[in-house]
Amino acid sequence: MKQNEKKVSWISFLLVLAFLGLVFWLDQIIKPTNKMYMLMTVLQKGSVYALAAVSMNLLNGYTGLFSLGHAGFMLIGAYTYAIFTIPSSARDTVYQYFDAAIRISFPELLSNSMGSAGTVLGVAIAVIFAGLAAAFFGYLIGLPVLRLKSDYLAIATLGFAEIIRAVFQWQKLGPITNGSNLLKNFMRTSLFKLKVGDTKLVFSTFVPVLIATLSIIVIVKLVNSTYGRAFKAIRDDEVAAEAMGINLAKHKMISFTVSSFFAGVSGAMMAMVLSIAQASNFKAAMTYEILLMVVLGGIGSTSGSVIGSFLFVAASEWWLRGLDSGKFLGIEAPGIFRNGFRLVVFSVIIMIVVLFFRKGIMGEREISDLFREKKKAKGAAR
């Protein structure tokens, strides 16, 4: 029993390591001019959405709190990251109409004394900062909102996200948020390169994939811990959970704050992948998209959320592209396959999947269960 569990975690660990190695290698050989660069885009955006979906699943899937504020927390993360990584040389061009109030760039500050290691550390600090800012807002919102029952909680969090979006575009906050103008020129994935000796190493895809991987590992560990079990107890039966000594207010708050933290981190990743941060992008539609990925993968399954996200991103950004540009699967029909048709087909596919796979692709299972089930079957056969 115990031995088996150890084996499962070792297999998972090695698989993750192999995946990271593969991404690192791809980063070196597939250049932006390559036809296969679409794969890198999918990996980058997929990581962003995978973390967003997994953090939403922590709340909606494991704790049973139906919250729709994700885009709001991602926005906070994206802005925090962007603001604290704009180099001083670019600051005045970015804040064209305002007098920038925050004049610190972590990567710049640290690279002055530590070189490229400082840049890396600065980016890491900015990402964590982004998470903390989102978590802080999560805590504040959570105080009043978490007492509400499910439908009201969804509406309240949705409202909060819309308010955040409006506030960040408010001209009066321009010196911090740049008002309704976008933020740019901060540390983005295209700048993630290091010179080691004579060779130039590229980390454009590796960095977002790594951040998502580490974050998801932390969430998985949390879900499997005694706290994660308490979350599931609350989801299954709140009355019983409370009667067995689980403090509902406290545990809901923990889940909400942690989920907000990682939503903030995924927001930071979104900013670095897209090279811009703009409040008007973080609409409720983004939250719905993420919710769809969670449902597609299976509510209550972390692997499901990851698979759902990558499939979603790959389908919408890559595989179905042809539907918009006249040629799909070798069929040329510019009359039908034109702008917007992709979205129609995509919506139909999603509807079919949701209708016929009620419990999503994974149900409540995890990828690691696959190794486990095989072992069990073998044991029984012996």
Binding site: T226, Y227, R229, D237, V239
Partner: protein, 283 residues
């Protein structure tokens, strides 16, 4: 009565009013350490409501609950109830103490539910293990990053030992709700015991059980009292079980207590026979 022992639970003048319905009316009782006390009464008498007040699910409209020598719940008609209060002893209590159920569980109360409330997506083992969460000393970070290995292992071992004791080892890894009714009730008791209670409240533990299972359960409840050193307060309709194991019995009818005493006294009580025993003797 074991009045030589300390009082584990004292309920004083508890009234629970929902709108215009007085579900529990001026109910008082006490239980001494190591006792098995039963609350009986016809359907809708207010027994479960009394449990819900004692365990913190509902704040009483009026009255006080003292647990293990400490005043834990107290309330008086306030707000809208100030005018609409239909019970007695208004003005006797002046304090407002309304802890959530988990606080009372932490102090040493644990309960089961009349309509079984197991965590349905989880196995038998997990159901018991989660009830150990309350006993943790680890914080969020140490629990997430594996800094609580020793505690985690101890809690798992304790959960396994408990499952063994209640005789559910053979279904340890089964989904909790796939178990037959009788075993689900047993599991609910094991889960409550996992919180290390001083007082165990059982709401109709024999409901849905056949006579054979009921006999086993009767013996099981006695064993639990002795082995885990808990006091037991139970609601039950199976009269054989109640008369067999209770030290004392309180009888509720339409929210009010109409009698209390030893099983022998209750069986001879005219009011009880009229209100209850005469009607649903073998329910």
């Amino acid at each position: 009565m074991r009045k030589d022992k300390p009082c584990i639970l004292r309920v004083e003048d508890v009234t629970m009013q929902f709108g215009g319905v007085v579900a529990v009316n001026n109910f008082s009782m006490e239980e001494y350490e190591g006792e098995i006390v039963a609350i009986i009464g016809p359907n809708g008498a207010g027994k479960t409501t009394a449990f819900n007040v004692i365990t913190g699910v509902y704040a009483p409209t009026n009255g006080r609950v003292t647990f293990d020598g400490r005043k834990v719940i107290e309330n008086f008609p306030r707000g809208k109830m100030k005018k609409g209060y239909l019970g007695e002893n208004a003005g006797k209590y002046t304090d407002h103490l309304e802890p959530t159920p988990d606080k009372l569980t932490a102090l040493g109360m644990a309960r089961t539910f009349q309509n079984i409330r197991l965590w349905k997506s989880m196995t038998v083992f997990e159901n018991v293990l989660i009830a150990k969460h309350m006993k943790r000393t680890s914080n969020l970070f140490s629990a997430t990053f594996g800094g609580n290995r020793a505690e985690e292992k101890r809690q798992r071992d304790e959960a396994d030992a408990l499952i063994e004791t209640v005789g559910l080892s053979d279904v340890r890894d089964e989904p909790a709700t796939s178990l037959p009714y009788g075993k689900q009730r047993r599991l609910e008791i094991a889960r409550a015991l996992a919180t290390d209670p001083k007082l165990l409240l059982l709401d109709e533990p024999a409901a849905g059980m056949n006579p054979q299972e009921t006999v086993e359960l009767t013996r099981f409840i006695g064993e639990i009292r002795d082995q885990f050193h808990v006091s037991i307060l139970l609601i039950e309709h199976h009269m054989d079980l109640v008369m067999d194991i209770s030290d004392r019995i309180y009888v509720l009818d339409f929210g009010s207590m109409i009698a209390h005493g030893t099983p022998v006294e209750i069986q001879a009580n005219e009011k009880v026979i009229d209100a209850y025993l005469g009607v649903t003797d073998d329910a």
